[in-house]
Every structure is written in C-alpha cells, then in structure tokens.
Symmetry: C2
Subunit: 182 residues, 2 copies
Amino acid sequence: MPEPMQDEPAVVILRLGHRPGRDERMTTHVGLTARALGADRIILESAAEGRRETIEDITDRFGGPFDVEVTDSPLGRLRSWEGSIVHLTMYGQPVQRVEDEIRASHRKEPLLVVVGAEKVSFEVYDRADWNVGVTNQPHSEIAALSVFLDRLFDGRELDREWEDADKRVVPKETGKRVEEAE
Amino acid sequence: MPEPMQDEPAVVILRLGHRPGRDERMTTHVGLTARALGADRIILESAAEGRRETIEDITDRFGGPFDVEVTDSPLGRLRSWEGSIVHLTMYGQPVQRVEDEIRASHRKEPLLVVVGAEKVSFEVYDRADWNVGVTNQPHSEIAALSVFLDRLFDGRELDREWEDADKRVVPKETGKRVEEAE
C-alpha cells in the first residue's frame, strides 16, 4: 500500500522571478508539476498571482492536498525558511552526487526547493544548502524540478493517492478513461 | 567512464501539435530537455520551425550530437517509423509499470517518443506500442518527458559527455563557473 506522503516533512516549491506575459504557462506548468510529483505547496510571487486559479482548479477536480500561496516577499520567505533549501540551477552540483544527502535531510526536516525563471540573485545561491544541477546544460526549470522530485521521493510520488478528487483517470493501454471519483 | 550514448539505438522525440504563439517556449523547452536528457533528435512540425534556431544555438555552444528536424507530415513520420513507439499521455499506463519493458525494447531497436501539445488524434494512441503516463494527473509534457528519459536511461544521461562544445559549465557549490571547452 502506498503510504500517505503527507506524513513526511513538507516539500515546498518557491517559484522565483515570474515575468508577466512571458512566463504564464511556464509558471502554471511548474505548479502543476509540483502538485503531480509530490510537493505539498507552491509559493508564487505576486506577479504570478493569476496562475493560482488554474492550479487550484486542477486540485479541486483531481484531488489534493496541494496548496498555492502568493507572497509579495519571496526572498523574505527564503530568509525565514525553517528547514533546508535546494536551489535548482544548471551551475550547481550534479543531482546524482548530492541526492542521497538531500534525501537524508528531508527525512528530518522540511525542504524548500527554489525554481527560478529569470536571473536569480546571488543571495539565493548563498542561502541554499545545495545548489543542484539536473545536468549542467541549459534546458527547462520544469524538467529540472520533475527529475529532482522523482529522485527525491524515489518514485513513491507516482503511487500517491489523492484526496477529495471529483475525477480520476483510469490508466489504459489505448484511449482515455475518466471516472467520477467515489 | 561514461559510455557514449550514441552507441545505443536512437531515441527520437516527435513533438506534435505546436500552436504558434501559445506554444513557443514550451516547444523550445521540450527540445532543450530532449537534448539535455539524452535523446538524439527532435522532430518538429512546420508550425514550430521558428524554434529550431534556438535549440541548434544551444547545441552549437554547449555541444552535441543533437539534431533538429522539421517535417510537414508529423503523422507520416509516425506511420513510417521503424522501431517502437511510446506516446506520453496522462491517460496511459503508469511509467513505473512499463518502463522495464520499454528499456528492454530500446536495447534492441530505436524508440520514438511522442509528446503532444494540444489534443492528440486517436491514431497516435493506436499506433503507439505504449501509451505511458508519468502519473495520471494533468501537469506538463516537459515534466513527463524528463522523468521518462531519466528512467529510460537509468540516470546514465546525467553523466553523458558532449562533443564539439564551445562552453562547459563547471559544477559549483555556490555561484557560477563557465569555461571555454578544450
């Protein structure tokens, strides 16, 4: 039986540097990926507030728990975080070298995972306990976040159960099947 | 020593359903993720041709091999593919249940991985050897692709070496370091 992931210390995603217009879909996808792959909460900057509804709508329909929080002081949230901090960046240490250490830390305390859009201030590199690269190649913050979470949870997030869902997708070899959740 | 991944049967990504304007950054990120996480090539629809340059520019600077191909008949490419086909979809079978089978198949023959943007025609579900869900939750095709590739290659893609790169990022605990490649 899958164990409820909510019994573990929290994993919270902090999305930094949303540029209105340019980043709308990226930020939505960061939020939906965070939810689908086992995080408990995402913190958005005020500039990304419009994305809250889309993410919450998916949680209403497909289940939770998953929270969206909006702050006008994202760096303040970083400074006051009680737990450890990972910053995902292509300049960081290879995820495959540091993941064991991070997993061990997460068994003991909450983890904040910082995912930047545009240029991230040096303070973030400096406050992070681990600057982590999912490869040292330029690609996508959504890709980095998803590989990181899959490794952090060791695949357990894929068997997670959802609460208070209206709809449930039933896996199929071919085609689509969506049921009303009980 | 990391083995050159190019000695293995090819992994080719087919990006279906690019909507001009709306999908520009998503398609770029699909392409960069494909490159960074070990695929050999991406096939784009004509509508996405504008994305080719951005992806090729990263390959020029950070290395390859990685190819971008543009076709005006993406379904034709699907129909004539010689090898096996995976279609990533939230309606598919859980990746954790089918990944061993897919990995075994890829040891023997090339693999086409179909990543859709908008609604995908039933023919794709039907032609795929595996319709695969990275969770059965709505999230991001970039996230699905990245988790799929990381599992397909069992993490080997993270130690891949790059050829003909101008620049190389040197992993750092804090800050950024980029060197000219030798």
